[in-house]
Every structure is written in C-alpha cells, then in structure tokens.
Symmetry: C2
Subunit: 503 residues, 2 copies
C-alpha cells in the first residue's frame, strides 16, 4: 500500500499542486451549483446531501466498519474500511462543503461578523498548514515564533504607540505593549479575565448589558462572580449607572469591560468617559474591540477609538474586520509584565537549562500547547496591504453601511434603526411585528436568497446586515433590500420549486 | 486603490491559483535553502533573518508608522505605511518562514509529537480557509456543521462501537457517543475537567506523575483543587498507589485521568485495571489518548487500547498520530447528555424561536464562538485513506520505532531506555551524564542537523526521538544515530562553516 505524500520538505509543494487543483475545481463547481449566498431548503436537505456524500463510497470503498458490531446493524460512519483516494475524497467533500456553505463572499451573505477572507490571506495560511510549525517550543517553530513576536508587538503599538506599560516615575514611556494570539474574541476575553483574576484574585467584572456573551461564559469558566451588568439603554454603557455600580464595589478589585463595536449594532462605548470612571474608582479596563479594533488603521475612523489607549487589555479579532480566515484573534496587553501568570513549565518544552542556554520559552504565550501559526497570514496581509490598504478596506465597508442606511431611510416600507457606527445596519419593515421580522430572516435562509442577522434593540427585533465584504456594489445593496422585502409576502415562505438552480 | 480579491465565491478559486503558485514556489525555495531539518545557528540568527525580512520593505513600502510618535524614534513594526502587494508579501514571508522552520517532514526532525501533515489534509484545509465557515451558527456553516456532526459521531464509534452512554435497564445499548472538536489535547483535557466539574461540583482530579501538564493547567484555570498525583515509577500509573489515593478520597467526587501514550515515552497506562479501580471507588475516568488514540485504527495495535471503552471522556488529537496540520483535537464523550452544561444562549446565534423553527443550535459544541471547520481536513483524510490506510501509517511509524530501538540496542556507544510502546524511542550515549545529554540536543539544534527531544525517565535524562514520519527509511534511522553521535565530539559544538547549504 502506497504511503500518501507529505505537505512539507522540498517535495511537498509538488505533491500539493495537483491536490490543490482538485480543491480549487471543487470550490468553483460547488459555488456554481449553490448559485447564491447559501443552499436553499434549510437544514434538513443540506444535512441529507452531506450525509449522502460523506457516507457512501465508490468501489472499493465500503461503509461497513471493520470493527465487530456485536451482531447489531452497523451504525453510520464516514470512515470507509478502504480509502477512496486523495482526489476522490477531496473532490467529493470539498464540493459538498462548497455547495452547502453560507459563503460570506456572496453579496447577500451579511448576517454575522463572518468575514469573506482575502485570497492572499487564505493562500498564506496554506503555508502554515504545509510547514505545520507548532508555537509551543522554539524547536518546532524557529522562524514562526520570531515572526509572531514581531507581529504582536507591531499590533500592540497601534493601540499604545508611546508604550503600553506604566510610565516610570521620571516620565519616560513604559515598555512596549504586547499581544497574545488567540482563536478569537472569545478566547481573548477569557484571557483578559484570567489575567485580571491572577493579578487581583477573584475580581468583579462590571460590564454593559450589550457586552458579548463570552464575558459571562469566561466568568463561569474561571469561577469568577457573575458580572455586574450595567444598563445600556441606548446601545452603549450608561455612564451614570456605571459610576453607581463602581461606587458600590468600594475597594473590591474590579474589571470594567467596555465594547468597541457590539455584535448587535456595532456601537462603540464612550471610551474616554469610561476610562475616567475607571481611574476614579481604581478599576481596570478591558476593551472588547473584536469588531472595531481595525478602525485604528483608518485616519477617518480612528478617532472613534479615542480612549482605547487607556485600556489595560484589548481584544482584537482580525477574522472580522481584518479579512482573515478563522482564526486570527489577539489579546493586546498594555503592560507585558502582566503576562507573567501564564508562565508555565513542561520539561519537554522549556526545561530550565534549555532556557538558560538561550532557547526561547514560548509556553507562556498561550493557554494552548500545540498552536497553529496564525501570525503568518496576518503578517502577510499587513505587509501586502499596508496601513493605507487596510484603511481603504475599512473605509469601504463603513461607506457601504452608510449607503445602505440611506437607502433604508429613504424607503417607504422600511425603518432604519440608526445611522451605523461601523458597518452594521439594523432595519425592519415598517408594518412587521417581531414575529414577522424573525420569520423574514428564516424565510430568506430557507429560500437560499440572503443571510441576514437579527438583533434586539430598543425593545424590538430588527433585521441585521453586517457588511464586511469590500467588493459590494450599490446594486448589491439595492437587491439585498428587494430580496428582503420579497420575503415579506406569503408566497415567498414556501420552499423554492428548484433547489440549487444558478442565480 | 484596487481592492484585493476574495478567496470565496465563484471567482475565488481563480484568484487563489496564482497566489498559491507563489506560496508553493516560496515553500520549495525556502526548504531548499534551509537544506535540513531546521535552520542552523540557533535562535539569534533566525530571529535576525526574520526581523530583516519582515521589517524592511521594497519601494514604495516604508517602515515608518503613519501614527504620531510624539517625537520619539519610530519603533520597529512589520506594518508598512503602504503595502508591498500580495505577491511580494507572500514570496518574502513564506520563504522566510520555510527557510526558518523546523520541518517535521525532514527525517531528522523528530523531537516532538509534531507531525508532518499529509499533502491531502493540507490541501483540504485550504478549502476551509477559502469558504471560512464559522461553526457557531447554522447560517454560517450549513454543510460544515452537518459534516462535523457525522465526523464526531463516527470517531466516537471507534471508541464505543456498541454505544457510549449508560445502557438502559433492559440492557439495550446506550446512545451513540459524540465528540467535540478542539484546538488540541490541551483544550480537550480542559473540557473533560470542565464537564466533570459541572456534573459533580469541585471534583478532585487524581492522575499519574506522568500526566500531561495540561491537566494541571486546566485545574488551575477552572478553579479546581490541585490534582492528587500518584507515582508512576515505571512510566505508568502505579495501581496500588492509585487504589490508595482513591480510597483516601472516600465519597468525594473524583475524576481519574489516565494516559494512553505519554509525551515523554509513549507509555500506555493499564486501562482495564484503572477502569476496575474507578468502578470500585465510584470515580469517573478520563483517558488522555492524544497520542495513542489512532492505534484504534490498527488491527495490530488496537489491543493496546483495551479498556478505553470504559472511559467517560477521551482526548484525541489527530494532529499527532493522524497527520493533520494543526489543529485537529477532539474530546470524545461516551454519554452525549454530559455535554448539556455547555449549552449557552446568545440571541444573535441561537435564539429560542430560531431553534424551535428548526435551525440547529451549535453554540454548545465548543467554548469558542467563531470556530474554523477543522472537521473537513479530518473527514477528507479518513475518507481518502480509509481505516486500513490509516492503520498502515500507524503500523509504519510503530515499526520504525522498533527498528530504531533495535539499532540503538545493538550499538556499543548507545543505551536504549526500553522497547517503544508506540513510536517514541528514548536513548543516550552510554558515557554521557545528564548535562552532556542536554548539550547534545542543543548542539544538534545549533548545527541544524537534527531536532531531538528530551525526557526524564528512571531518574536520568534521555534523548527522545518521536517518530511520526511514515516516509522514513532504514537509512534515515542510521543517519539519525550517526548525526547524534557526531554531536558528542567537541568539534561538532562549533557553528557549521556554511549556513543553509543544501544537504
């Protein structure tokens, strides 16, 4: 039996090339067959197609498990007794996946902070997979660890250009900030709470009602008290309520969590005022800028993040407004000394005598051990586009949101929630109740014609368009609204007559 | 300014193709220039080359940050003010990374459970990056979520072919087991402890001295008591000591952690005896099979995992003995009802009325929110190779380890630790003390000639070869030993005269 080729070494690229051709063809065919932002019909037909593709095998494959089943009917499995070969497996499963995807590169796929990745970032990530550095020890990632260190310091400087750590008594700037690479905003927020816990003990989180759910989940995970939730009636933290909540904490160690770009509306908390309150009450400040962080690159939009530099920790997430394939999260830390509690020894990875002899100790850079070098695709993207190229993309999607909001505002049948802060636009048909709004969203999904999100705001349910695709055209914005309105008619709630027909 | 193309949609594959050509060329050139398992010279020259490549930019790029630096000298950054373009950025950084990698596809790169990925798995992962499904809601991952569900149940059936959950009183099999996809063994172990905590409250962990460090780290993270550590003088859990430790717990909720394939030696705990002790003492059993789990695919080696089916939870990690690029971790769970505590609501992802209307609720499948579809590459690999193809690879690396052990055992200058259990071989020069052994490893790294690991066992330090490359030849095994012995001479500790010369 032949051993399948490896991706690495000098021979890897030649082995990868024909397989990648199969993948690219399957991606293209799948996208053509899908013919829209997502497959029509809803969950059941998609699951059936995946099931059929993944659990039936051409000769000589067979679906029978090799193991003894104790006289019972063999259960369904996607593991054949004999393999179908690389080309067949890639063609079948990649095409099935593409045909059944909600593809954020499609103009009408705009529900979530679910970015359409740049081709150049996706191509860079291939190299990460082929070389497979693991970021937990230097001897698994010599260059990748050096590149990650440059990347994390470079990004921290975007937040704290004058140094992030506490200034010395003589007024000279503090040390350069740093960042840890994470799997996304959720892990970044978890790390921020963990660092606060390790510095202060069982710290009390105080956050707005609009704060991402991952903050509550992290408090549960880490055994911290339930967060104190401050109202956010206008979509951002109510400052008087925050002041009162902090006063009530008295001398208890407190971490305030503010948000720069909420998931529901893209709203940005009044960071300077919140930072002032934190200073007054001796509370620390974490800012979840998973969405809004990349506004830093834009001369036009950077002022909206004024005050971010007062944060002790900042969540960034470049698989949102940074056009990276998942994962590309970061937790930026003003004072790198705060990372010390993550220090951890495992003799096979960072023995004392190896560290003393000059081998870098990487284990304290993450709670994970084995870790993919997500730094590569991010570094390639930053270099390829530069600060102004990224700003250009940020400005574009923000401008699209403004345009969409104007279209909605001028439309007699539609109601706009408010002018967008970043690139999220909430709207609803004027004559629809909450039940109808939810039903429209599900009808669009079932029809396969648009992927819109949903958000509660001011006591009502809204449709949500999260615009992250820099290639949208004005025509796309018009048709997105037309498609949405067409789903409000009873006719459109029935399943479409043909499935998978090209648009 | 032109907007860079996206990876998705019908146009994505055509945009990816030329960029991937750049990546494959850069990978090939970088591997050729490196000319060995890792770059010679140690950490400092590698960091310097990465720094030079990543922070200097061809015209029109410039390293000056656009932001005001307050009159200070601009700090180093890898973000240019203007981009260098996709081709330049990919060529420069991918080549730099490849040149500076410790490449597990090279025969002498054998320190860690750091796998050389299969080309077909790496190619499949490209599709995950291009389509960018996010596994936290159905409307971001229609087909990917269906494929993941099939994969996780298929893998759980390999452990519990007769059903994993508790049998009914009538003796019919319990429900099919399930698994969660994780970033690796560390997250899997963390999840196992979390599930135990949520089921029992502050559960006491009892584990062997040889247990992976992530168990201790997870207990710290989750606020659990420090694990009770049972001696493992022969490399596996001492059963009498475990019995005594469990007796001492009395009626306290206890989770025993056993290991099937330790990081240091590949040893497998006596699972049937440990399972019996757990049953006697009403303790639960978690098995960390991050390394050994794929022995399940091999008729020859599966018997070594006898008893695994008694575990409540099992850590698997197919970026070790499964030849996946990172990440490909799983936590398999015998009783899927045990996953209930991970249930979590976030209105934008799994609102009650959406779930009632039939949209799958995915948020309880992970502690992460946004999540890459690592299921794809795993499913493609299982389909392409089949059970027997995977078994063939597993058998091969185990056979290599046996061959290497025999070579060592017959070598007058070398001492073998013991016959390998899986594919890890510990050895040392007969006349070397621990200091010399550590020095040999670092000399090989500095020379760029081999990447070996280190492990303490029976009170001494050993060199560790973790064989995961199925393409090794008998010649490679010979030269690995010759190279190691050459590093014991004083001459070899000096840096090599030419750096990066092709082998």
């Amino acid at each position: 039996m032949q051993r399948p080729p490896l991706a690495g070494g000098t021979a890897g690229p030649a082995a990868l090339r024909p397989l990648i051709d199969v993948v690219l063809d399957a991606l293209h065919q799948g996208a053509k067959t899908r013919g829209g932002p997502l497959p029509p019909g809803g969950p059941e037909p998609v699951a059936q197609r995946v099931h059929a593709a993944a659990t039936t095998f051409p000769t000589p494959g067979t679906p029978l498990p090799a193991q003894d089943t104790g006289g019972q009917k063999p259960r369904t499995t996607l593991i054949p007794a004999h393999g179908t070969g690389a080309e067949e497996a890639l063609a079948t499963l990649v095409r099935t996946l593409a045909e059944g995807s909600a593809d954020p590169a499609e103009p009408h796929c705009a529900a979530h902070l679910h970015t359409p990745p740049l081709a150049l970032a996706t191509a860079a990530d291939l190299a990460a997979g082929a070389l497979n550095p693991s970021m937990d020890s230097w001897d698994q990632a010599p260059a990748a660890s050096a590149l990650e260190a440059l990347l994390t310091r470079s990004l921290a400087q975007e937040i704290w250009p004058h140094g992030g750590g506490p200034p010395t008594t003589s007024g000279t700037p503090g040390p350069t900030g740093d960042a840890l690479v994470t799997t996304g905003g959720t892990e970044s927020n978890q790390l921020a709470l963990l660092l606060a816990r390790e510095h202060h003990g069982p710290v009390q989180i105080v956050c707005g009602a609009h704060t991402h759910h991952s903050i509550h989940r992290a408090a549960w995970l880490l055994g911290l008290p339930d967060p104190v939730v401050v109202p956010a009636p206008t979509g951002t933290t109510d400052l008087a309520a925050l002041d009162a909540a902090l006063t009530a904490q008295r001398s208890r160690p407190t971490l305030v969590v503010a948000t720069a770009g909420t998931t529901d509306t893209g709203a940005i908390d009044p960071l300077p005022a919140i930072a002032d309150l934190c200073a007054t009450h001796h509370a620390e400040l974490h800012v979840d800028a998973a969405y809004g962080g990349p506004l830093l690159f834009s001369d036009r939009h950077r002022p909206r993040l004024a005050g971010l530099e007062h944060a002790h920790t900042v969540t960034l997430d470049l698989h949102k407004l940074g056009w990276q394939p998942v994962a590309a999260g970061l937790l930026a830390v003003a004072d790198p000394n705060r990372l010390a509690p993550l220090g951890h020894r495992a003799d096979y990875l960072n023995a004392d005598d190896d560290t003393e002899a000059g081998l870098p100790d990487l284990l304290g850079r993450s709670l994970r051990t084995t870790r993919r070098p997500d730094a590569l695709k991010i570094a390639v993207t930053l270099r390829a586009l530069g600060r102004d190229g990224l700003a250009h993309l940020v400005d574009h999607v923000c401008a699209h949101a403004t345009q969409l909001a104007q279209l909605i505002d001028q439309h007699p049948q539609l109601e706009l929630y408010e002018h967008p802060t970043i690139s999220t636009v909430l709207f609803r048909p004027r004559d629809a109740d909450d039940h109808a709004v939810a039903h429209i969203r599900r009808t669009l999904l079932a029809n396969g014609t648009a992927v819109l999100g949903r958000a509660h705001a001011r006591g009502r349910l809204w449709l949500k368009a999260t615009l992250l695709n820099p290639h949208l055209t004005p025509h796309d914005l018009h048709t997105l609204l037309d498609t949405t309105l067409s789903a409000t008619t009873p006719r459109a709630t029935t399943p479409p007559p043909t499935k998978g027909s090209p648009r």
